[in-house]
Symmetry: C2
């Protein structure tokens, strides 16, 4: 029999999880301090005449001596357009190597061929920020991995790698521009995706690092995001991906009238809160309503001649407009979400690339997430304790991601969640979220199309909204109101099998995902 522990958010977790290990339960956003040293990779040696350029992914795998049981890493800057993960994994499978753990910054629908590799035992471990589509379904319903997927935030991944909790044997880095010694950037070339925030960490902490490029440039590359002293091999391929598939629906401003109403309400609440003032720092997650908030804030900023300090996050063309039009002085960018933003980072010195560690790692000496005044998040569920779910659906299926939400919610002075109260008659505001991703103790306001709720621990904000004449209601009333339309959601039937562990950014466990029955 397993014993159980309880997190600060009152959810019960097993003390030990097979395939994961001992559980340290979440105990507050800044309670867990690191005690260890950063990981140090084995030192290398180079000499004149060393050749890094090799002709195929297969040869790269042979050079790095890929073998059973290794952990390898990938980034998802090319999102749905990524060709590299599948290509490397197909080659590894073809070589007969088994028992590989993948540490990806995230996984997208493009990576569904992984299912076959998992079923055949080529892949037996997954670390990621998100999981979607057929892989998410297969893991939630069938536990195809036979052990839990470890979900980490963008900051938590950087932390875990720096701490050596995830030891990467080989990092594969898709590089839109690279020279023959491995100096690279993400901003130039036919497959340009912009900032290289995730692999900036991998390159420093992986034992071997393979750059894969479709744009070999003369040495020395002039714009260096990751320097050659960290790179072992350079492989040239025809194409690393399809940059047209980087931007997804999630990165465009919505035209949906409900989302626009929510965004308008959110902007009003933000303005009333007093945080939208000269030199404020702002981030909005991807997702329709979340981005639409920018649109309404912009009008207010122009009218009141407010200039923000920086906007951050996954950077879209919409944020680029705000920079170019002088509404923000800088963009801090760890992951670029569309072609317009990728072009901006190349040309505009005020559009600044940052590593995932500088973005959101809680266990270094600063991160931009902790410098935010305002964060706007979307959610697939929010409960009466303001806990947010952005990973699993109400059916228990794995279909989303942690992203930077827990990082920025903890860091921002004011975190606002924008969400409709229901989607297709499924309630979004619920008594208890299917899984906790971002803890309610880091969420301040929920804005929906039917009402606004303020976290009771933020009396200061409640007073500001009251003073501005903005109507609010308790989140419980809001939930009950929604249930009048949707009815009480059905309880999902789960087995005892744990198919996912949701780590908080500091390495504690926030929640686990059980296999659906």
């Amino acid at each position: 029999m397993n014993n159980f522990v309880e997190t600060k958010m009152k959810n019960r977790l097993p003390e030990f999880i097979r395939g994961y290990g001992q559980v340290k339960p979440y105990c507050g956003p800044f309670e867990t301090k690191p005690t260890a040293q950063k990981y140090g990779v084995k030192m290398s040696a180079s000499k004149p005449g060393d050749v890094k350029l090799i002709s195929s992914v297969r040869e790269a795998l042979e050079k790095v001596e890929i073998k059973d049981g290794m952990t390898i890493s990938f980034h998802h800057h090319l999102r749905n357009g990524d060709y590299i993960l599948n290509r490397v994994m197909d080659e590894i499978a073809d070589m007969g190597v088994r028992n590989i753990s993948i540490c990806a910054s995230s996984l997208t629908n493009a990576h569904e061929p992984l299912i076959t590799h998992i079923e055949k035992g080529v892949v037996t471990g997954l670390h990621t920020s998100g999981l979607r589509g057929a892989i998410g379904k297969a893991q939630a319903e069938r536990n195809i991995l036979g052990k839990p997927v470890v979900f980490r935030t963008h900051g938590g991944r950087a932390r875990a790698i720096e701490a050596g909790e995830v030891k990467i044997d080989v990092a594969f880095i898709a590089a839109p521009a690279c020279d023959e010694m491995g100096n690279m950037n993400g901003a130039e070339g036919k497959s340009a995706f912009g900032a290289m925030g995730y692999p900036l960490v991998d390159a420093q902490y992986a034992e071997k690092v393979v750059a894969i490029t479709d744009n070999l440039q003369p040495f020395p590359l002039h714009r260096v995001s990751i320097p050659m002293n960290l790179i072992d091999h350079v492989v040239v391929v025809d194409s690393i991906g399809d940059p047209d598939l980087i931007a997804s629906g999630a990165t465009r401003v919505t035209k949906n009238p409900t989302d626009l109403l929510i965004a308008k309400n959110a902007a009003e609440a933000l303005i009333a809160s007093g945080y939208i003032k000269e030199n404020f720092a702002f981030q909005a997650g991807s997702g329709g309503a979340s981005l639409a908030v920018c649109k309404f804030l912009r009008a207010y900023m122009e009218e009141n001649e407010i200039t923000g300090s920086f906007a951050a996050g996954g950077v879209t063309g919409y944020l680029v407009d705000l920079l170019q039009d002088g509404l923000f002085k800088a963009l801090l960018d760890t992951q670029t979400f569309d072609a317009k933003a990728a072009d901006s980072i190349k040309r505009n010195p005020n559009h600044i690339e940052m590593s995932a560690s500088m973005y959101a790692n809680p266990h270094n000496k600063s991160c931009s997430a902790h410098q935010l005044d305002v964060m706007v998040l979307s959610a697939t569920e929010i409960d009466e304790n303001f806990n947010i779910n952005s990973l699993t659906g109400s059916t228990g299926r794995i279909m989303g991601a942690l992203g930077g939400a827990p990082d920025t919610a903890a860091g921002a002075k004011l975190t606002v969640v924008v969400a409709p109260t229901m989607r297709k008659r499924i309630p979004i505001v619920v008594e208890k979220v299917t899984n906790i991703v971002t803890p309610g103790d880091t969420i301040d306001i929920l804005v929906t199309e039917r009402g606004i709720s303020v976290n009771p621990n933020r009396k200061d904000i409640q007073e500001k909204l009251d003073a501005a004449g903005i109507e609010t209601m308790s989140i419980r009333s809001l939930r009950e109101h929604v249930e009048n339309f949707t009815g009480k959601p059905e309880q999902i039937a789960y087995s005892d099998d744990i198919v996912g562990v949701i780590e908080y950014r500091d390495g504690t466990v926030m929640d686990v995902i059980y296999k659906t029955m």
Copy 2:
């Protein structure tokens, strides 16, 4: 009784040196491979609202809990204009702290107040690339430190820090531009010095990092050479240094007719060697004749429409002209030597900043030193085995530096030494150098005003020079010829006391410096 070991260059070293440790003798430029892991600093934690800005150097020292026995680091990008090392050391002395080891990228005449701190026991360890003036004299004649100074090359310092052979407790970084969270660069502000090559390493491997700036900029600084996630504290002072004192005589092209003759001879030898061709990579050390070689090469390149790939090193205004005029496609810069070059790195994207590790560390996955075709070095002595001394004078006094000479000599396909045969009747070409800094097995040609000698192990170059009708002579004949004018140099009388250890870039020992009698 101590036992002795012998290096590949046949100099005898004690097996063990008090105040230094066990000696691993030099055994060839690429024979010593690392086996350990890189050092990892203790992890930190940050949270929203953290304040890094503090009001004085004293408060910074209190915050980092400076104490007896610590190792602290400094960079010398401000060269003779640096105010920071003295200011920090005066404060440490004032606090009554003792037994501090200083790991400086180099020390200049500006740092002579160190003598008092050494004599009082505040400073009891020195790691540096160079030592000059009164400190060099006091250590060579009196061993004021009571143990050897450890001399390292620029690449060797980066290596030793990454390897954890030197563990830095606190790094102090003079920052010409810095924001309140510690994002910094060296290119902007009244004390701009250009590239931040040395502290780029310190910031990653020091337990605590203090930025000291005279130009506090709004957060976020737009040009980030060292990111905030590595910085603990930011101190604002009136002035970090006098940038007018960065450029010294060593960084201007000579007008001395002997030096110009040597440079002209060297350029002819270089051209005859066949290495001056399309896309060649080039570096010249500081020093009159060495820089003057560029002038003659430039004429040849223009005439023959040759464009080089990159020029590297300490970067001067002269190299900037070559870049701007299209003679080289890029500059790789770890340390900027004058105001014109500092301005260039700010404005020209083809003028690329690199860390000392990317420049010259032999124990990572590449360095620019290993990508060089041609290196031109100056020397204070060269002997019949082509060994170079650039640290000690013929009197045994410590008066120079290792710099990047051993790094680039090992890396370049062709290394040419330019030196006059004598200075003030003191022979430069000698039977045996006072101390070996750069081993003769990495030197290919010596060019003087009285003759050219090719290292016998480079028969290919000898043939090229013969074919071009360039007269050469054996280095032994050249030495004997010089002795006709100067007479045999007097033997220096040494004691048994070792006052300096000269490490090769890979951490082996190349030579030791004995106290003069």
